[in-house]
Every structure is written in C-alpha cells, then in structure tokens.
C-alpha cells in the first residue's frame, strides 16, 4: 500500500507491504541504517526513533502506522549548525563503545532533555531503562546525557571535542 512518511523533515512516498516494520522501512526502503535492529520484542531499544515527537521502538511499529506522520532518526540529530549536544556528550564522555545501541540511546536522551533540561542521574537511568547496552555498563551513557544537559541547546559547527581529552 502507498504511504507517505516525513523522515527528518523530508517526505518519502513508498508502496509497501502492510506488514513491513518501521525499522525495516527506514533501513531497507530509505537506506537510513543508523537505526538498528536488535531483538524483535521491544526489549533492547536499538531501534528507537521518534514518531510524532515521541520515542517508539520501531521494530514493533508498522510502517503504515507512520503514514502521514513525522519520524525523526539519529540521522536527523545533526543540523546545519552542527551536532546535537547529546551527540557531543556521547563523544566527550565515552558514552559508546560498539555504537550499536547508541542511536536509540541518543534519541531517548534528546527527548528526555527536551522535556526535562536538568534531569537527575535517577531520571536519566529511568529514561533509558527500556534500552540495553552491553558495552558501557551505562555509567558513561548517564554521564554523556548529563554533559549534554549542562550544555543546554548549544550547538557547535565542528566536532571540537574530537581533539580534546575526555574528562577523567
């Protein structure tokens, strides 16, 4: 069936099978492979994207449910001004290792900070509790999101942190 979905501000029209999952639509139909697939059962959160401004697990959302709606993925975090503070925070605080859970974690983090610009450690842990990371033990993910909170909404034109030392 025909659907029209706006992803990261760009509208796509595709003829798809009704059973196609949103995660596969994004990855296979649109080539947006930053959104990952990890478990099929809504447990791991590697597939988290925004649907109408709300984080969803795209392995458990049909693409047709996004018809006429707006989706935001990790590829939509960076804008013409620069990286989102959440992206910079994950780099600055070593919030990722293999990088597979990272896009989903960052999408949830951005949503959290939009609602609560100054979350406590407990708030952050609760916000990402539906997502699994096997590498970091969550410590540096929490620090990354706090780092981003402390930056506010400031964006930078370059990856300045990429040449700096990570805080101990």
């Amino acid at each position: 069936m025909e659907i029209s979905v706006t992803v990261n501000g760009q509208t796509y029209q595709r003829d798809i099978e009704p059973r196609l999952l949103l995660v596969h639509f994004l990855r296979d139909e649109l080539g947006l492979t930053g959104t990952h697939w990890g478990c099929d059962t809504s447990n791991c959160g590697a597939c988290v994207v925004w649907l109408e401004g709300v984080p969803v697990k795209s392995c458990t959302v049909l693409a047709v449910m996004a018809d006429g709606r707006a989706v935001r993925t990790v590829e939509g975090l960076e804008d013409e001004v620069g990286l989102d503070p959440v992206q910079r925070g994950f780099m600055a605080c070593h919030g990722l290792q293999c990088g597979f859970c990272t896009p989903g974690m960052m999408m949830t983090a951005r949503w959290l900070l939009d609602r609560d610009p100054d979350p406590s450690e407990e708030d952050i842990r609760e916000a990402i509790s539906g997502q699994v990371c096997r590498c970091t033990g969550y410590e540096n993910i929490v620090r990354s999101i706090r780092w981003a909170a402390e930056q506010g909404v400031t964006r930078k034109e370059s990856d300045v942190e990429s040449t700096s030392e990570v805080p101990a």
Binding site: T33, E75, M91, L96, G99, F100, G130, R134
Partner: protein, 798 residues
C-alpha cells in the same frame, strides 16, 4: 577553566577521545546488516523445534515453488558438496545443516534464499520436515548414565556422551595436603549456561564473483583471518580468492569468534545463485543457536590451617559442551585456562579434573568475555574462599589478605603450571577496601543485623569481596594455537612522505576502540599525532595475518606488535636522520617525535622531516632502503596477568528476595593504560555483565530440552536500573615482558565481578545460615535459599 594545552590531543597515551565515534554518533557506522549489494538475495534458516529427533524426511517442494524463492538448501544439498559437516574449533565436527538427526532445539535444518528477507521467512513455513522425536539428554549430570541416549551416533564407534578428560596439578601431592589439613571446606557450585547476547546478532553477506572466482564475505567476525583460512580449508576454495571483512561490529564478547552454519549457507547460497546473499539471524536464533558460555558443574574443596592459611584446592568439574564440541580455545586446553583456578593465593598444592560431556543443547562453551574459562576458575576459587571464611568465622577480606601472593613472589610459578608475570596484590586489595570504606560497611551491617534480629527491619545487607588474577593474551606459539594456527599477530606500519601514517592490524575491534588506542601506541613511540595515524583492521585483503580479538588478547599481542613495528620504524628513521644531519647514528638521541644530536638539541630532525627525506633523493648509507615502513609478527613470550580487587554491597529484601546492588568498587591493575578512559569503559561494561550473570541471566531448559531463554523477555539483561554507579580505582604493575608494559583488560570485570556479587548476596543471607546459592540469584533463587531449599537454576524443575 582548562588551558589550551590541557585540551590538546595527547601524542601518545592519555584520555584521547575516540576516533571512531564521529561516525557512530551520526548513525554512519557500517554493520553487516547495513551492507546492501546490487542484486542481493536474503537467506533464512529453518530450525529444529526438537532437542533430539531423527529426521525422517524433508519436503521443500512448496518452498521451492514460492515465487520469490531462488533456492532451498538442505543437508542433502550440502552433502553433495561435502559441506554438510564442518570442523569445530575443538577437533569435533558440527552439522551445517542436519542430515541424520537434530541434536538441539534451534539446530539448522534448511536454508531458504529469496528476493527479500520477509519472503525468505515466509518460505520457511512451507518446508515440511518429518521428525521422529528421540529422548533428549538435558541434565549434564545424567549425560554419562549408562542408559543415556547417545547423542553423537554420527561419530564412529561412539557409545556414550563422553567428550574428554582433562586434569591439571598434582593429584597425589594435593591429597597429602588435604589429609594433613586442619580444615577442609567443600561446596558444589554451578556456573550456569549464559549467553553474551551482543545487541547486534550474527550475520554475513557472501558475494562470490562468478567471473573472478573471488569470494568476499562481510561478516560479524572477531577473527577474520582465521575465518578466511577455515573457509579455504572447509570449502576447498583457494585462500587468496577469499576476502573476509569484519566491518563495524555491534559487540562481540566471544559470540563472534566461531563460524556458524548460517555463514556457510550464505557462502554456498552465493555460489549456487551467483548473487550476493545476506543472512542475519534474529534475536531468538542468536540466543538459541550461537555460542553459549559456561555450563560448568563444579565441586570444589579448599584445605586450610585452623587459623586460615590456605593450603590446597581440589576441584572436579563436569563440563556441559552441548551437542557438538564447539568450544573456542587453544588446542592443548580443552578446559580453556580453567587451570588458573588457584587464583591469587599462595598455596602448597592443587589439582583439578574436568570431564566434558555432550548434551542436547547448543554448542559453544567459551564465548562470553571469559578469557578462556577463567571466569569459571575465578568464580570457583572466590566462592570457595568465602565458604572457608564462613566455616572459619573469619572476615573474607582478611582471609584473602592473609593468603594473597606477595610482591616478592613474582614472577610466580603456580601449582598448575602458569607463570604469573607481575603483581602487587595486597596493595590492590587494600585500595579497594579503603575506597569502599570496608570497616564502616561492616559496622553498618552489624547494626542492620541488630535491627533485623529485633524485628525492626527486613532489609538485609551484604558485602562481597573478590580478588581475581587473569591469564590473557594468547599466546606463545609453541603452546597455543587455534586449529593449528599459532597465536602470533602481525602488524604493518607505513609512514607516508608527509609524516602521516597507516597502521595495519590483524586484530579487529567490536567496540574496544582500537582505531584510537593503537594509533596512540604508535603516537607514543614515534611522536606522530594519533589523528595522523589511520588504523586499518578487519579486512583480510588489507591487513597482515593474525588470530583476532578475543580472550583479551588485542593489547597483549597486537598491541605489542604495534609497539614493536613502530620501534622498527624509529630505528629506520634514525639512519635516515643520521644521513640528513651527517652524523654517526650512534651520536643521535631520541625524544618523542625527533632524533637530535647528543649534546646539541637544536640539531635534530622531526619524524615528519625524516619521513619526507626517506622518500626523497637523499643518499642513504649502503644497504639502507628508502621509505619509512616496517612489519613484524609478535609471538608473545608469556601471557599477561591482569588482576583486581572488587567490593560489592547489596541490599536484599527479606520478604521478596529482591537484590539491589547498592555500591560496587572495582580496582583493576592492567599494567600500563594506553587510554584510561577506554580502559574504564571496558571495566564498566564487564561489571554490568557480572551483575547480570549473578542476578539475572540464565539459559535454562525444560525436561524436553526446550530452551527457556530464547528472547530478551526471558533472558534478562541488566539495564541502567539494575546497575549502580561504578566506583573505579587503579593500581599499575607493568607487565615485565610486554613491550609497553600493558596487560589485557577487556574481560577482567566480567571475570572478577560475578563472585563479588554472589559473595555479597550470600553474606546478606548469613543470618539464614546460607553458605552458598547458585547464580542467577533471582528473587526466587534467593527466597528458596533462605528457606533452605536451593534452586537448581539450570533446569526448569523444582
């Protein structure tokens, strides 16, 4: 405010931000499932619903007729190519697609290749397999019963489920020590079956070019060079016509060391169809069929004097290896490095015997950040020490301190034949107990127990200590090989005319940050900025041969190779500099980034200037080639022995059995740290693993061999809510034999932490006279332990 200098990128070791992050935080990583090739087809595997059954017939006609299906492969198809069976990493064979019987639930039976992944899955439903169910062997403790069904009747002459016997240490001497000891404590304990569960599952894209005859396999491999050689040997393809690429890998942890049937099917599928074939397993397939870990049933005994001097350790192990012996470890070590079970203690004698058995479960066994079964060894000895402390009425930290090896005993020859390279154990334990405020914790616990006794509180508090020593960095070629391939690693370094460099490594990263840390190693040796050094890895056409990344071996082996190759370039640069400065090379001195004339520091040449000169028309001494590059193969003289001390504090709800990890202090000593931030990140992840295994993760089976952990709904992984904020400390005892003094760190926390958590929970339950309870300590398991009816956690029986 930080100064500009502090923000400058370290040229060498230090807290450098990772180079690979710039692509990952944009969603621009390239994992196997991100690869799409023109005309690519999709594969899916049909799996057995039975743990043990004879295959009567397979009818694929309906699947063949599906309009989008291009091919259906069965064991019969593969048998015609002599590929129905493949060698495992433990001198056994494993069915690629079953021909005679299925031997575990989830075993591969057929492979469908279709135009898209949904159609491939649809067609699986159209395959009709007629099975004749057979009684399964589920309980490893019954695998050697005389009337147990024989699982491996494919092996000629096989009459039972016995795989191997292995032992280490001195049996008679150990028996003498035990006979003379004041105290002998013993305990049965299970390290249950767990799974590493990287968030990216396993998969491959195979592309056989029918014109050139070149096969390219993009795959989730921790050991691409070993995979290439195995494909050559198994499939009979010429090795130079095979290219294995490990692109970005979404976590390995040991799960991606071996070759799985799905990979082979994708390769065969590409050969048969002439098209690229992608196969990516789903989560259930990953959990049910790929390498599991542990499944060690251990009986441990510890002998001591009455005042707590440990004298000996004696262990019997029944090792459940599943349906095929597919454990991944050096050939001479069928029980991995379990032989280091004497741990960190100065004892007189030790002995262990291990019996390996087949059961109707998935193959594997060494696959989860275990340093070749040192997880099992450390868990055993650290629980035994706590059991002894319980029996003696001694504080477990104090008991450890009395028995730890002393710094003057290094290098230490263990009673089971290992040479520990370096250590200062009391200092590390002292720092951990100091950071944890151990005495205050014990005082708080005493107060809490008073409240418990008075009926004023139902919250139990437990404090657990563990101390571990690992043996990582396999390994010396004469002792260690995988399928006959010696475990040495190559490295190549080339400095371009402008002073930028490319380092080519045989090992591969699954999140460890090699693109950053290996650049830092070269930067430290040559003074070239890490950003100016490109690290190439994971592509067999682009990199020298080596055995890959697992067993915490990258830094001990490939890290040494990187340092050695950089030093060779530095020596070459010295000759070039001497020609540039018209002095004798012996008159030159090195400081990071330049050679200069001794006594005249102004007269020097930077490595960048030297690089340009090395490629120029500069006349070089006779016999000295131009350019600035070098290669090496590093054969480690010994393993490295990282160690650490962990303190865990838990609160247990006496009414529900719920455990909450309140505090976790981890002091690790991995020698020199190339990038402390990355080291700490590795430790964080391992600690979460330890909490997960101790409290949540288990793959249990019912009596029919049904797998009860086949999704993340059932196989529970720790989230941010179960993990405390980790408190890390560091001591540094460099490895004396490693070129930069580094030791492996990737698995230390996974190895060392489960015992700390279990010791803490058992300590909390001391008022209930609980001396031991098996992992995972779920609320049900804790509750049952409190009632004196411990749970058998590996089977769904009561």
């Amino acid at each position: 405010m930080t100064t500009t200098e502090e923000h400058a990128s370290p040229v060498g070791y230090g807290r450098l931000q990772r180079k690979e992050d710039t692509r990952f935080i944009r969603g621009h990583g390239t994992y196997v499932d991100d690869i799409t090739l023109p005309g690519m087809l999709h594969g899916a595997v049909l799996r057995s619903p039975y743990a043990h059954a004879r295959i009567v017939s397979i009818d694929t006609s309906s699947a063949d007729a599906h309009p989008k299906v291009k091919a259906v492969i069965t064991g019969e198809t593969l048998a015609g190519l002599n590929l129905a069976w493949m060698p495992t990493l433990s001198q056994d064979v494993q069915a690629v697609l079953a021909t005679d019987k299925v031997r575990f639930q989830g075993q591969e039976v057929a492979f469908v290749i279709a135009e898209d992944r949904y159609s491939a899955r649809d067609a699986l439903e159209l395959i009709d397999v007629d099975y004749e169910p057979l009684p399964p062997v589920v309980d490893a403790l019954q695998a050697l019963d005389p009337d147990a069904p024989v699982i491996r009747d494919d092996l000629e002459g096989r009459r039972d489920n016995h795989i191997f016997d292995w032992e280490a240490g001195e049996s008679a001497r150990t028996d003498e020590v035990f006979a003379a000891a004041d105290v002998v404590s013993e305990q049965d304990m299970l390290y249950p079956r767990v799974h590493p569960a990287p968030i990216e599952t396993c998969g491959a894209v195979a592309d056989m070019d029918p014109v050139t005859g070149k096969l390219t396999v993009w795959t989730t491999s921790q050991a691409p060079h070993a995979h290439r050689t195995i494909y050559a040997l198994v499939a009979g393809l010429p090795e130079h016509k095979i290219r294995v690429v490990s692109p970005d890998i979404g976590g390995g942890f040991g799960n991606k060391v071996g070759i799985y049937p799905g990979y082979v099917c994708a390769v065969v599928g590409s050969i048969l169809t002439g098209k690229p074939v992608k196969w990516v397993e789903d989560r259930s397939e990953n959990l049910m069929s790929t390498s599991f870990a542990r499944d060690y049933h251990m009986h441990g005994e510890i002998a001591s004097t009455k005042d707590g001097k440990i004298l000996g350790i004696r262990v019997r192990v029944l090792a459940d290896h599943g349906a095929f012996n597919g454990t991944a470890q050096p050939t001479k070590f069928p029980a991995g490095f379990f032989g280091v079970f004497t741990g960190s203690y100065d004892i007189e004698a030790a002995h262990c015997s291990v019996v390996g058995v087949y059961t109707n479960k998935a193959p594997g066994g060494v696959a989860y950040a275990c340093s070749f079964r040192i997880t099992e060894a450390v868990y055993l000895v650290e629980r035994l020490v706590d059991v002894l402390a319980y029996d003696l009425g001694v504080d477990p930290a104090e008991l450890r301190l009395r028995n730890l090896l002393r710094p003057d005993q290094f290098p230490y020859q263990s009673k089971t034949g290992w040479e520990y390279d370096s250590g200062d154990y009391p200092r590390t334990l002292g720092l951990a107990t100091e950071m944890a405020h151990y005495d205050d914790l014990r005082a708080e616990q005493a107060h809490r127990r008073d409240l418990n006794s008075a009926g004023l509180s139902r919250d139990l508090m437990g404090i657990g200590v563990s101390f571990f020593t690992e043996a990582v960095g396999a390994g010396p070629r004469k002792h260690m090989d995988i399928l006959g391939l010696g475990m040495a690693d190559g490295a190549e370094l080339r400095v371009h005319p402008t002073g930028k460099a490319v380092l080519r490594l045989s090992c591969q990263t699954q999140g460890q940050g090699h693109e950053t840390t290996f650049a830092q190693i070269v930067a430290e040796e040559l003074g070239i900025a890490p950003d100016d050094i490109d690290v190439v890895h994971g592509d067999t056409d682009q990199t020298p041969f080596g055995l890959g990344t697992y067993g915490s071996r990258s830094t001990p082996v490939s890290g040494a190779a990187a340092a050695v190759v950089a030093r060779r370039v530095r020596e070459r640069a010295k000759i070039v500099a001497s020609a540039m400065l018209e002095v004798n090379p012996d008159d030159l001195e090195w400081e990071k980034g330049r050679w200069f004339v001794r006594g005249d520091p102004e007269a020097g040449k930077s490595i960048q200037d030297i690089a340009m000169a090395a490629h120029s028309t500069l006349e070089l001494p006779e016999g000295v080639e131009g350019h600035l590059d070098a290669t090496c193969v590093y054969n480690p003289p010994n393993l490295t022995y990282p160690f650490g001390a962990y303190v865990c504090v838990v609160d247990v709800d006496a009414d529900t059995g719920q455990v909450k990890v309140r505090k976790f202090v981890a002091v690790d000593d991995c020698g020199v740290r190339i990038n402390p931030t990355i080291v700490e990140g590795q430790v964080h992840g391992g600690l979460a693993d330890g909490v997960g295994m101790a409290l949540m993760q288990v793959m249990a089976f019912d009596e029919e061999g049904n797998h009860l952990g086949g999704s993340f709904m059932d196989y529970l992984l720790p989230t941010a809510m179960e993990c405390p904020s980790w408190e890390l400390g560091e001591t540094c005892t460099p490895s004396p034999h490693h070129p930069i003094g580094a030791k492996g760190i990737g698995e230390s926390a996974t190895v060392g932490s489960p015992a700390a958590v279990v010791n803490a929970v058992v300590d909390a339950l001391k008022p209930y006279r609980v001396r031991h309870a098996d992992m995972p300590l779920t609320p049900a398991a804790v509750w049952r332990a409190m009632q004196g009816r411990p749970l058998r956690t590996d089977l769904a029986i009561s």
